[in-house]
């Protein structure tokens, strides 16, 4: 019996008003539109902050020319971030700054949303209930695709509106038409990867596996585009990559609608294939044979601590690989990026972000903010998975054994802390490897300090998450993610000097020194870690005293 059941004063159920067939479309589009709204706001904020920061950092034509000279023809940065034509203009810089990251975020968003709403729903058994009614598998899948499409449209609309509004500002000056085309370019990867996720949801038996198949497609697309853009005379390769098509749209610089043809065509073909495949398989089954049997491996199953490691292993490894790659990337481009970090206006912005000096060190000081954010989100994921163990009822099987609640939660936290520290050390190491190939003159020791410093916000997220898990479990996961998303937004907008000190102080990232451009403030770090520890201890104590709660 659940609380909800008990508390039910049985309100009269509303009569089913919707046409009986449209239930799936309604459910999916609501979920997708909510997500599209949130991410549209992130997309818009990112575009706005990039345009804004350009106008405040590079004020004079001379500064803009210097930037264009440094990056415009650099094959290394082109391979990583795409071509950079027109860095002398706000539009050119904005596209260069946001397109690769938003393309990747959009693709991941599309993959995760589609696999969650298709394979995830099916895995949870909710699909069975819907299909037991009048809907057919193909009909329901087509409806779900329509719902996902709604999400993409919302994502586009919000991005377009924010970009247009920012474009009204005379210093930015982007007209509504080009702003809408920019938004279309940014959202088109999301649309294609929604379709990819929908297709892999037909192939794989679990949501995780469906997302993994989609990630392979994304990786190959990125690699093809990267090689094509590397200046090796293989530019035609970009035409084989969905990310390459989006790049060829070249919004704000030399807009070309032709690549919209393969983008639209591939999305439609993938969607049609999804609907077709949904009809030739059983509900709950997959087209790629599922490995239902496995040889038993008892290695980590000796107790709750080992179980925590085993459950976190896969996700933790992916995070560590991700921060390693990001670190390597930052390290490799630090030198060329650092050369543009000169001039008094740049200094001003860097100082607002807490960095100082110039060159590669200053660049890395700002770049490490991104690593801090990544590691903090990895930590938030650990809080979410601990809560899921409880809300989905698996924790019951452990707590009815001779296992104290504090021991279980402390074990989960130990694994999370290990992941966070390992991420910091690995990111510092790969950044150092990257910088070592360039004449940056940055040693391993300051980078290692910066790497450890970058784990502090993540430890804060763990402390806050544990506190909420103890006191208000149902708010723990949204609470931690909300604090991190807010903090990241404050940092992005705060860099351009639009925010008061009071607002900046609400960001968890703002309390950590922008190492390695400035020395790590170990005292402030120690205070933050001590506060996190105190929060975690209060959370542990409260967790031991409360009811175990379902979703």
């Amino acid at each position: 019996m659940t609380v909800a059941e008990l508390a039910a004063p049985a309100p009269a159920l509303p009569a089913p008003s919707r046409a009986p067939g449209a239930v799936v479309a309604g459910r999916t589009s609501r979920a997708a539109a909510r997500s599209g709204l949130l991410w549209g706001y992130v997309f818009g904020a990112f575009v706005a902050s990039s345009a804004w920061s350009y106008t405040s950092i590079y004020k004079t034509p001379a500064e803009r020319e210097a930037l264009a000279a440094a990056f415009g023809d650099n094959h290394a940065t082109t391979a990583l971030f795409g071509p950079a034509p027109g860095l002398q203009t706000v539009g050119g810089f904005t596209v260069f700054k946001v397109s690769v990251s938003l393309m990747l975020i959009g693709a991941v968003w599309g993959l995760l949303l589609a696999t969650r709403l298709l394979r995830g729903e099916e895995e949870a058994g909710r699909w069975d209930l819907l299909l037991a009614g009048r809907a057919t598998a193909r009909g329901a899948t087509a409806q779900a695709l329509a719902g996902l499409g709604t999400g993409a449209v919302v994502l586009w609309a919000v991005t377009a509106v924010i970009t247009s509004v920012v474009g009204l500002w005379s210093r930015v000056d982007i007209k509504a038409g080009p702003a809408c085309f920019l938004a279309l370019a940014l959202v088109s990867t999301a649309a294609m990867f929604l379709a990819v996720g929908a297709l892999t949801s037909q192939l794989a038996a679990t949501r995780r596996q469906a997302a993994a198949y989609g990630a392979v497609v994304l990786g190959v697309s990125y690699a093809l585009r990267m090689v094509g853009d590397a200046g090796l005379g293989l530019h035609w390769l970009t035409w084989l990559s969905p990310l390459g098509w989006v790049e060829q749209l070249a919004p704000l610089t030399s807009p070309d609608p032709v690549p919209l043809v393969p983008i639209a065509l591939s999305t439609v073909v993938l969607a049609a294939a999804t609907v077709y495949l949904a009809g030739i398989r059983d509900v709950g089954a997959s087209l790629v044979p599922d490995r239902t049997h496995a040889r038993a491996r008892f290695g980590l199953l000796g107790g709750v601590g080992g179980l925590a490691v085993r459950l976190a292993r896969g996700v933790a490894l992916s995070w560590i690989v991700a921060v390693a790659l990001v670190g390597l990337l930052f390290g490799t481009i630090a030198h060329s990026a650092g050369t543009t970090f000169s001039g008094s206006s740049v200094r001003q912005v860097l100082e607002r972000l807490g960095a100082s000096g110039g060159g590669a060190g200053a660049y890395l000081g700002v770049a490490f903010l991104m690593l801090e954010a990544l590691i903090a989100f990895a930590a938030a994921g650990q809080i979410a998975s601990a809560r899921a163990e409880e809300s989905e009822g698996r924790l019951d099987h452990l707590l009815v054994q001779p296992v104290s609640r504090s021991r279980w939660l402390a074990g989960r936290l130990a694994v999370a802390v290990a992941l966070v520290v390992a991420s910091g050390v690995v990111a510092a190491t790969t950044t150092w490897l990257g910088t070592a190939t360039q004449p940056t003159g940055i040693g391993a020791a300051p980078l290692l300090s910066a790497g450890l410093n970058a784990t502090v916000p993540a430890l804060g997220a763990l402390g806050l998450g544990t506190l909420l898990l103890g006191l208000w479990p149902r708010a723990a996961v949204p609470g931690v993610y909300a604090v991190l998303a807010w903090s990241l937004l404050v940092e992005l907008v705060g860099g351009i000097g639009a925010l008061s000190h009071w607002v900046l102080d609400t960001s968890v990232f703002h309390h950590v020194a922008a190492a390695p451009s400035v020395p790590v403030d170990w005292t402030s770090d120690a205070v933050l870690v001590a506060l996190s520890l105190a929060a975690a201890l209060v959370g542990l104590a409260a967790f031991a005293r409360r009811d175990i709660l379902g979703a």
């Binding site: 049997h293 496995a294 008892f298 005293r545």
Partner: protein, 299 residues
Amino acid sequence: MSTGAIRTEGLTKRFGPVCALDDLDLEVAAGEVMGYLGPNGAGKTTTIRLVLSLLRPTSGRCEIFGLDAQRQSVEAHRRLAYVPGEANLWPRLTGAETLHLLGQVHGAVDAAYRDRLVERFALDPTMRVRAYSKGNRQKVLLIAALMTRADLLVLDEPTAGLDPLMEQAFRECVREARDRGQTVFLSSHILSEVEALCDRVAILREGRLVELGTLEQLRHLSALSVDVTFAGSVPDLSRVPGVGNVRVHDHGVRLDLRGPMAPLVRALAAAEVTGLVSREPSLEELFLVHYGKERDDGR
């Protein structure tokens, strides 16, 4: 201090304004099999989650073998095993891995018995949990609980999803456990299961304990159903002590009898009785009559 397997004193749990369990005093003696009955939402699972210290009581207390269920939960849990009605396990572990994990965490496992159980319940332990049907997942949890040979088995609708053959295997296991002196606390909707297995039955309604006793005792509280057929005319039996609900048909009468049978037999001696059948109510009838009545009274 009591040596009962489970002892609750004024155990109460409120969720906001709703009282899920109200002032429960219950004692399950060591070595007995107690059935715990009640309609949906009566508070059965709440009771069990309080006993397991997954929920914190609003007031009252609970002991397991004399140990405080809340404050000494780790010690208490060494002596019990639990099977929930919903089998949410780690989807990526195989059956064998799950059994290994739960055994390791519990500490003591009778490995030979575990292997026999796997065979008896016809479980394929090499399969991943996510590929198991609901019934197979339930088997994993049953085996995990039984293999510990714990002194107390707390079972919350443990046979949901099992086929009749497996239900039979489960009943054998519970009988074996009782023969070994283990205590079983069985919450169930399947009245035939409770009737077949339980020494005593507790019935819960809207968070309150409404009946407690052996099946015999409960039957005595309830009416015996008596059918009498006659060669000649049907005598008037409505004034016989203990008789009620008299329904006369062609050559006979059907009535309910409470209390001793002697007055009825004396009243029938004068008549030409051709047949007499008396039937004890089944647990299901007891249950339905009880709730039907309560519900009617409530109107």
